[in-house]
């Protein structure tokens, strides 16, 4: 006796799969969880005395409301040399009397205006952090990308060793000042 074998028609399977695929293609957003990380200072305590830093230990970068740049009081158009300037400032170790005493004391002060665009802000912050990461990576003997990867993964002992070796004695002193209210 011929028995009817139960079968699911599979000719339309590809169509169904395509439909689902299209749905996921459209709704998908690949999450972006990477960025420039900074730590904010603790809230202002009115009783805390203001500590004056020596002028030579501060590298000032200012951006105004029309996104123009002022580095150590001098206008700067082309930012390609800024990273090297910052590195020279940090690693000066007292050699040049206009630059920092020691990497530990060096502070990069970054001040913007309320009208500065976020794009410009990120561009300059990227350069400052890049200078620090380049220094760290060189000390640890790895590439910049590898160092940043290691810095994001402190649970791994190998990464921790790279991080500590690069960071030791050179804190990332980036001071992001309260923006001025002159323009914008």
């Amino acid at each position: 006796m011929a028995r009817a074998t139960p079968e699911i028609p599979n000719a339309s399977m590809a169509d169904i799969a395509f439909l689902l695929l299209t749905f996921f293609l459209v709704t998908t957003t690949i999450a972006n969880d990477r960025g420039l990380s900074i730590g904010l200072p603790p809230p202002l305590d009115p009783n805390q005395p203001i500590i004056k830093q020596q002028e030579r230990n501060i590298f000032t970068i200012q951006v105004n409301s029309s996104d123009a740049l002022l580095v150590e009081g001098e206008p700067m158009e082309d930012v390609s040399g800024l990273k090297e300037d910052i590195k020279r400032f940090i690693l000066n170790n007292g050699a040049d009397p206009h630059l920092s005493d020691s990497p530990e004391k060096a502070i990069v002060s970054y001040k913007t205006d309320r009208g500065t665009s976020h794009k410009r802000f990120v561009q300059i912050l990227d350069i400052i952090q890049g200078a620090y990461y380049d220094i760290y990576a060189e000390r640890a003997g790895v590439t910049n990308a590898r160092f940043r990867e290691a810095a994001s993964d402190p649970a791994n002992p190998e990464s921790k060793a790279i991080y500590d070796k690069g960071r030791e004695g050179i804190p990332m002193n980036i001071s992001i000042a309260e923006p001025t209210k002159i323009g914008g």
């Binding site: 399977m13 695929l21 957003t29 969880d33 990477r34 603790p42 809230p43 665009s117 993964d153 923006p179």
Partner: protein, 154 residues
């Protein structure tokens, strides 16, 4: 005429029997990588580029704030706004919002809360600085400016 009617001697069909397999493979890829958003972003998000990116360690500790010009300018105006979850908030609401976000985490992890600021390129520093001031007050001091990777020029 007959020149054009000549039949090809080679079989020209593309084999389609493996198509469902290929499609399913793609489907699974997208199903796995997809992340359904609970919130729809109501502000412009043209994320700036940078090269010195750091990856976040743990996603569960991250909470997002979106800042930019509202998409519906006729309804909300052109001034950049702050969006948390599904609503627009004012800088003064941030402390409350941070505390609510902290409550969602386990007690020992509350201090590690990282706020990812997803800010539009054209937004101004003023509003971001206001947010930062409030975050300092709320003691949520780990901050991340979300950016996209810039191609290395070398």
């Amino acid at each position: 005429m007959s020149k054009f009617k000549k039949k090809a001697t080679v079989k020209q069909d593309i084999p389609t029997s493996s198509m469902p397999d290929v499609v399913f493979m793609l489907l699974f890829f997208f199903m796995v990588t997809t992340e359904l958003r609970e919130t729809s972003i109501e502000v412009q998000q043209r994320i700036p580029e940078a090269s010195q990116l750091r990856k976040l360690q743990r996603k569960t500790l991250v909470t997002n704030l979106y800042i930019g010009e509202p998409k519906k300018t006729e309804q909300f105006g052109k001034e950049p706004k702050i969006q948390a979850e599904d609503v627009f908030i004012e800088p003064k609401d941030i402390i409350l919002w941070v505390n609510r976000e902290k409550d969602k985490l386990a007690e020992n992890e509350r201090e590690q809360l990282t706020v990812a600021l997803k800010v539009d390129s054209e937004a101004k520093r003023g509003i971001i600085a206001d947010v930062e001031t409030e975050l300092r007050k709320a003691n949520a001091r780990k901050l991340l400016y979300t950016v996209v990777q810039k191609r290395e020029e070398k």
